[in-house]
Structures are given as C-alpha cells and as structure tokens.
Symmetry: C2
Subunit: 307 residues, 2 copies
C-alpha cells in the first residue's frame, strides 16, 4: 500500500519523463562503473550499482537541471551518476555485518554476501572515489568547466561526509535503544538521507544558470523533500511487507531504532509527510523558475511511493 | 636496521625542513579533522589521523610545491592534508577484521579495536569524503582557484580509486597464496601504494606553475619513489622487528603474500631499491626545476628508512 494515500491527480507524466532520463543514466553508469578496475573489484562495483535501484537521486539532479534551464548537459549527467555512486557505496557498507548485517537488497544477495566482506569494503571505497573522478573529467574545460567541477565536488563531499550522510549514519548507530526527541530524530535524518537528496537538487542546479533566490528555494525544496523521504521510509517499514520493499520490513522496529512512527504514531507521521510535501511545493512556487514540474512530481512520488 | 644501507651524506637538512612543514600540516589537520562531525565519529576520525604518522605524503606535496616555485600556499596545504586523509582512511579500513585484522597500528590499538567496527567503517568513509571537502573551499575563488580545486580533486580521485589505491588493494587481496610475476607484483604496488605517493607529488606540482616537461619528470620521480617505498617496505618486513616498525613484522610472509623479497631475495631487492632511487634522482635532474632538494632528500629517506 502507499505510505500516504492521496487523490490529487498528477499534472505531469513522470513515468515518461523518468523513462527518458533513466535510460541516459543507466547507459552512462553501465559504461563508466568499473572501467579500468581490476576484474574482481570492477565486478563488485558494477553489481552494487547496476541493479535497478529507483535512481531517485539522479532523477533529482536532472529535474533540477531542467528546472534552471539550459546548462551543461554533460555535467548534469555526470553529477546524476556521481550521487548514485555515493548512494550505492553507502548501501554496500551499510549492509555489512558490522553495520546492519543485511543479506538481501532489492531482492538480491547483498554485495558482501556475493563477493565477500573485504571486496565489499573495497568496492564501497572505490565507488566513493569514482564519484569524484566522474565529476572531474580531464577535458581541458570543455564539457564541464573547471568551476562547475569544483562546485560539484564541494556539494557532493559535504553531502556525503561527516556533516552529511556519514555523520547521520554515525548518529543513527549511536541511537539504537535511545529515546530521541523529534528534533534529534530530524537532525539525524537531515544528515543521513536528507543531505544527499538535497545535495542532488543543488548539484543539478549548479549545472545551469541559477540566481541566489532560486538556489535558496531549491535548497528548501530539497530539505523538505529529503525529510519527507525518510518519514515515508519509516511509515513503509511499518505498513509494507518485505516483498514489496525488496528489503526486510519491520527491521527498524525490531532493531529498536527510533522512527517517526514510533515517535509520532502512524497517523501523525502521515500528516507530517503531507506537510513536508506542501513545503516542498511551496518552495518550488517561490523559486521563480519556469518549469519545476519534474521536481514537483518527484516530491509527490517520494511521498506516495509504496516501496 | 636501515633497509638499504648507504654512506652518502645528505646535502640538505631534511630534518629541519620536515619539522617546519610538519608543524603546518599537524596544525591544519588538528584544526580541520572532525570539525562539524557528530562527537563519536569526530573522535574516531581524529584518532585515525592525529597519531604521529610519518606524514610522507603531505611532505611530498609540499616538497613538490616548493620545487615548482611560488604558487598557492593554501592550496598546497589543503592538498597535503587531503592526501594524508586518504592514507589514514585506507589504514583504518585495511586494519579491519575482514581485511588484515590488525589490532596494532603505530603502537596503538587500531580504530576498530578502540571504537568498534561500525564506527571505524564510517570514520574511514567520512575521512575520504572530507579529503575532497578540504580541496574545495567555498572561498569565491580566493585562496584556491576553482581550476586548481578541480585538478586536485581529479588527481586525488584517480590516485585513491579503482585504478589506484583501492584497485591495488583488491589485487593484493586476490594475490594471497598466488605466485605473481615481478611484472604483476610491480603493477599491484604501483596501484596500491605508488598511485597515492605519485599523486601527492603531482598535486603539489599543480599548486604552482609547472610546464609539461617538468610535470612529466615529477611524475617519473613519483613513480620511481613510490615503487621504491614498497620494495623497502617488503625488505623491512623481513629485516626489522615489530617494535621498530610500530606494526607486526613478518606478517606478509606469514600471510603468504608475494613480496619483493620472496620474489627476488633480499640482496636483489635491496639493489632494486637503489636502482629506483637512482631513477628518482635522474628524473629530478631532468625536470629543469631549480630546487628539488627536498624531493631528493625525501626519496633518499624513503629508501634509507628503518621503519
């Protein structure tokens, strides 16, 4: 079932839009990931990435890039792949025995089950490095101007690092069995999942022309949508089954991890997700950007998804 | 005892030079590492980095920067710290139970022993991201021009990734108990340790003004010195004791890993280290750069060191 049932019809064909853009992303990832890597490592890297994930982060990059109008297409495509590499590496490491010890991811054996722990560790490490390599092509400033390369690396490093994703995971680790306040839970999730989702939006934006006001609005959109993503994740962990999720349902509760549902209850968590969705739409409305339909539809999808 | 005894006196006071530059590096690392990280994660990151390593990579960055003459001092300092962060993260992950399972590093408990495996994994991940964050300060192109930021990120990502350090580690992993040819062993080490050492030299060079010929010469210097480093490591694993090394001696042989000593024997390995040192000096001589004394002395130190 959907996390937050809504009856509003979509005014934009997200499926068609996504299909077009995903084809580019999948092709690029398939071409780039594992290239030049020793065989075993390259196999593990490709297995971790080329597995039919939802590719929400790349789509956010490309939707934001489209919203700000014409820009560097090559830069946006590289940014879209780079955020997915960071996401993929985080899943590989997160699934390892010393972290969540998950054996199943998207219906397949996790990387460490398939390739061994040492190779999984290295594949994750190599994927992170490769994200930054993708952002810095040595093309004499052709397809991706050096200033854009530098900005993209800055945004990605911050989103992935100790004040972003890795920091959120560390707080998560320390929170098992601990009673967090809503403020503490929000802070954890803003870092753990929010930072990379918001970073995806900003990375797409800087591949085009964006003024300070629009950048701020997109940043607010990214923050609201990113938090909504996590609230909905917590809801789905309770209401969905493992087959639909493609991963183990109910595991947060089983692990005694604080969630929005445990903190607010199911109904208030659903209401909060709707509020955040409204915030995301409001931010887009005040961005002054001509076409934010893809970003709007992606936020809707984040909240309405069933897995 | 020294790996490769030599009687040539040093024509340059490396100790004084290193002391001056190390003070800057240590101060910068101490100021930057763990800043803005959640407490537990920040502690693990600082423990991993601020532990009195030899700082060979930062010194190579600063020596190369000095060799190419005036340039961006701030960029060089950031690059010096960034390569050390990559080195430090690789040690944290390498020491983990699923890799080398080492409990001692530089005479102290390894990060996973001290902070737990999950925190060690995250600290390594966060250190890698932070390396790229350090290279991309948001200073409106002030202290570090965007083009330099982009070039530094490119060099570091390549040196650290699947065609560099992580790739070399993957080959190493697959080589236990396998009879490698000298060519295969060289390829593994060029990636595993050589890429980051060579990358350090090149990163220092691009923080100043360097023409193509000098860049090529520095690259050749970095390759020879980087390989010499590993040959000497293999020699020390046999001739030194654990107390001098600060880590477990003889563990490569015990783990049935191929080494230069097992392949060539001790005397030929020592002769090879001397050859590589000569190559490194020859490259510096043809670089046309006015003052390569620090680089020359560092290469000497790499080959003559006792730990």
């Amino acid at each position: 079932m959907s996390a937050v049932p809504q009856s509003t019809p979509l005014s934009f064909d997200l499926a068609a839009w996504s299909q077009h853009h995903l084809a580019r992303v999948e092709q690029a990832l398939s071409r780039w990931v594992g290239e030049g890597a020793p065989a075993g490592l390259g196999d593990a890297m490709r297995y971790a990435v080329l597995d039919g994930g939802k590719r929400l982060r790349p789509l956010l990059v490309l939707a934001a890039h489209e919203a700000v109008g014409a820009g560097q297409d090559e830069a946006a495509l590289r940014a879209a792949c780079a955020v997915e590499l960071i996401h993929a590496y985080s899943l590989v490491h997160d699934d390892m025995p010393c972290m969540d010890n998950d054996v199943l991811r998207r219906g397949k054996p996790t990387v460490h089950v398939r390739f061994g722990e040492a190779q999984a560790l290295l594949a994750g490490d190599a994927l992170q490095a490769f994200a930054f390599e993708l952002l810095t092509p040595d093309d004499d400033g052709g397809a991706v101007p050096p200033a854009v390369q530098a900005t993209l690396c800055r945004l990605l490093a911050r989103a992935a690092g100790s004040a972003g994703m890795a920091g959120g995971q560390a707080i998560d680790l320390a929170s098992v069995g601990v009673a967090l306040t809503e403020e503490q839970l929000r802070h954890m999730h803003r870092l753990k999942t929010g930072a990379l989702l918001q970073g995806s939006v900003l990375m797409g934006a800087v591949c085009g022309r964006v003024d300070a006001a629009a950048y701020q609005a997109l940043s607010a959109y990214g923050a609201a949508m990113g938090l909504a993503f996590q609230v909905v994740d917590d809801i789905l962990d309770v209401v969905a089954d493992s087959a639909t999720l493609g991963k183990t349902a109910g595991k947060d509760a089983a692990a005694d991890k604080p969630t929005y549902v445990s903190l607010l209850g199911l109904e208030r968590a659903q209401a909060y997700a709707r509020e955040l969705l409204d915030e995301a739409h409001a931010a887009l409305a005040r961005s002054g950007l001509p076409d934010t339909r893809a970003l709007a539809a992606l936020a809707d999808m984040v909240v309405r998804r069933s897995h």
